[in-house]
C-alpha cells in the first residue's frame, strides 16, 4: 500500500519560491499566470492493508515530522 502526502503552505503564508517561479514563467512568455504556490509530495510505502488505520497513522507522521503545521497544511491520500 502506498500513501501520498501533499504538503502546501497555508493560505496567507507568502511563498517566495512560488513567486519566483511565477516571475520566471512570465519571462518565458506564459502570460496570465496569476499565482504559483509550490509544495511537496512525499510517497510512503506501507506494510499492512488497513486503509483507514494507515491514513490515521500517516496523519500522525505529518503532525510530528512531515509538515510544520505552523505554516503548512497536508493532505493524505492512500493509493
Amino acid at each position: 500500500m502506498k500513501a501520498r502526502v501533499h504538503i502546501m503552505l497555508k493560505n496567507g503564508v507568502l511563498d517566495p519560491q512560488g513567486e519566483a517561479v511565477r516571475h520566471a514563467l512570465g519571462t518565458l512568455g506564459f502570460d496570465g499566470v496569476e499565482g504559483v504556490r509550490q509544495g511537496k509530495v512525499i510517497e510512503l510505502d506501507l506494510a499492512g492493508d488497513d486503509k483507514s488505520a494507515a491514513e490515521a497513522e500517516v496523519a500522525q507522521m505529518c503532525e510530528k515530522l512531515l509538515a510544520n503545521t505552523v505554516i503548512e497544511s497536508y493532505q493524505v491520500e492512500i493509493v
Partner: protein, 222 residues
C-alpha cells in the same frame, strides 16, 4: 558555568561556538546528537549553526527528532538555558521550544554579510550586557532566515518583550524585522545572526562578546 554544544551531522559552527563560550570562561563539552543525555550539571546548551542533516525536509526538522533533542527539551523544561544560532534557531523552532518558523529568505538568495542589529530587549541572561536600543554589528550567513510569525504571535512577542534583536535593514523578509526571539521564561534565545563569529578582534568585530560574558556572569552568580 558548564556549557554543552550539540553536534549534528552537518553542523559547522559548533567549534566556533565552543571557542566563544570558552573565551567567556565556560567549561565546554561537545555532545553528539545520538547521545540521549546531556553531561550532568550543564547550565547552558548551545545549538550551533550549519546544515544539520543537509537541511532535508525542512531546516532543523530532522535534527529536532534526534535523541539529544529530547534531552534538550527536558533541560529547557527544567529551567535550563539554551542558545540556538542560525541552524540552531531553526532547530529550536522545529522542536517547539521557540514559537514561529524560519522560511526561505524573501529575496531567495543566500545572505552572507555583517548586519546591524538593534538590541530590542536587554532583559535576559543573553542580552543583559547590552542596552536596549544599542546597535551592534553581527554576521549573518543563511538561506532560510525569514522568521514568520502571525499577527497574534507578533503581538504576544511584543507584549511580553520577547523580541531580543531586530534587523536595522531587514536582509531576509522576517516578520517585524525580527532577528532573535526569547522563550516565555526568557531562558531560551534563538537568533539567525552569529554572535560567536564576532568575539575576537581577528573576526573584524567583538560585538558578540557581551552576550557570552553576560551569560557567564548570570550563571556563575546563580
Amino acid at each position: 558555568m558548564k556549557a554543552a554544544v550539540i553536534v549534528f551531522p552537518g553542523s559547522n559552527c559548533d567549534r566556533d561556538m565552543a571557542v566563544a563560550l570558552e573565551q567567556a570562561g565556560a567549561d565546554v563539552s561537545m555532545v553528539w546528537h545520538k547521545d540521549a543525555e546531556l553531561p550532568s550539571g550543564v547550565d547552558v546548551v548551545a545549538v550551533p549553526g550549519g546544515f544539520s542533516f543537509g537541511d532535508y525536509l525542512r531546516c532543523g526538522a530532522i535534527a529536532a527528532q534526534s535523541p539529544v533533542s529530547a534531552a534538550l527539551k527536558d533541560h529547557v523544561n527544567r529551567g535550563g538555558y539554551a542558545l540556538g544560532v542560525c541552524n540552531g534557531f531553526q532547530v529550536l523552532c522545529e522542536t517547539g521550544l521557540l514559537p514561529g518558523v524560519l522560511m526561505r529568505n524573501a529575496g531567495l538568495k543566500f545572505v552572507c554579510k555583517s548586519v546591524d542589529l538593534t538590541v530590542a530587549s536587554s532583559d535576559s541572561a543573553f542580552t543583559r550586557g547590552y542596552n536596549a536600543g544599542d546597535t551592534i554589528s553581527v554576521p549573518v550567513a543563511h538561506h532560510d532566515g525569514n522568521y514568520v510569525a502571525d499577527e497574534t504571535l507578533l503581538a504576544k512577542l511584543r507584549d511580553e518583550d520577547r523580541i531580543a534583536f531586530t534587523y536595522n535593514d531587514n536582509p531576509n523578509g522576517s516578520s517585524a524585522d525580527i532577528a532573535g526571539v526569547l522563550s516565555d521564561n526568557r531562558r531560551v534565545l534563538g537568533m539567525m545572526p552569529h554572535p560567536e563569529r564576532c568575539v575576537d578582534a581577528g573576526h573584524g568585530g567583538t560585538d558578540g562578546q557581551a552576550m557570552f560574558r553576560a551569560l557567564m556572569g548570570e550563571l556563575v552568580s546563580a
